[in-house]
Amino acid sequence: MTPAATAALEAFLVARAESGQVAWPVYEEAARRFSLSFHTIEMVVLSRGLFPLRYQRQQELLGAAGQLRLLQTRAALVGCGGLGGAIFEMLVRLGIGHIVVIDPDRFTESNLNRQLLASLENLGHLKVEAAGERARQLNPVVEVVPLAERFQSLSAASHLAGCELVFDGLDSVADRLELSQFCRREGLYMVHGAVSGWYGQGALLSPDAGELERFYPGAAVMSESISEGNDSANLVMTVNAIAALQVAGALRFLLQDSKESLPGGFFLDLSGPELEAWS
């Protein structure tokens, strides 16, 4: 945007802000009048020191600088099922600006017990399309790139490389290890998470030191017949709890000044409940 255009938009927003907050109808009017994306408008809102009314309840906790950091974040979500659907909902509501969602699957009936985006109405529909639709309903500022393919595809890989955070919503150990290797090669942080019944685990893995293989020491001797992925028993509470811990860890990482002392990992057992975390 030219300085003049920015100044015009700023004046428009300041005039319509109430107590420093900008309500959604103002975004819609600004989009029409200035032919700008909601994403761009929100950048100007936050840079100008105003605050989106939608995020009022997190203003005290994040501040304009923190909220702008989230808007500038390019994240990828690999897998849009149980973990993925819950993670996606949270990232959109938080205001993460750009989310690449990668999942080749369509919803099936057995998804309904835990996958937030699944409903009786969208069985047979692509999961990534449901994600795009959900974002439009909740927070159109968030740019969603839906990729109905496996993350190993060339186009998915090139989108992933442009992201700083990659959220693990996969359902197989083999896929996760492959994703971890990719993230380390490309210098990306991987937000690992996995669930099984009443318990789950997760960790924020840095590209230089975060080897997911440490979480699966038996992987080398794993037989193909072990049902460790999409047939496993899963409960909606565990899915949501682990997804929340993944997003919380990512949020702490985005808001902190230094990238040192990343936590090592966590294991949550909801049958206790019991949380074990290590550095």
Binding site: L83, D171, G218
Partner: protein, 75 residues
């Protein structure tokens, strides 16, 4: 002999224990401990000694705490 503390999690506790002090013949590798507890390596996920990730061939020392978690792969 090395006296170590073993912490088991989730399903590994069934028929075993939550937390116990064990005396192991030195040198005691984590893989040996797993065999003694009859925990198949293919079922093991996170392995920690004193809060740090270790490989199964790690040699346990006196007063180490070893935490053994089941493998978790769903999503």
């Amino acid at each position: 002999m090395s006296k170590i503390t073993v912490k088991l999690f989730a399903g590994f506790r069934e028929g075993r224990f939550h937390r116990r002090e064990l005396e192991l013949a030195a040198p005691a590798k984590v893989s040996g401990l797993l065999r003694e507890l009859e925990i198949p390596i293919a079922e093991v996920g996170v392995l920690l000694v004193n809060g740090r990730h270790v490989e199964p061939d790690y040699c346990l020392k006196e007063s180490d705490t070893c935490s053994i978690f089941p493998k978790v792969g769903g999503g």
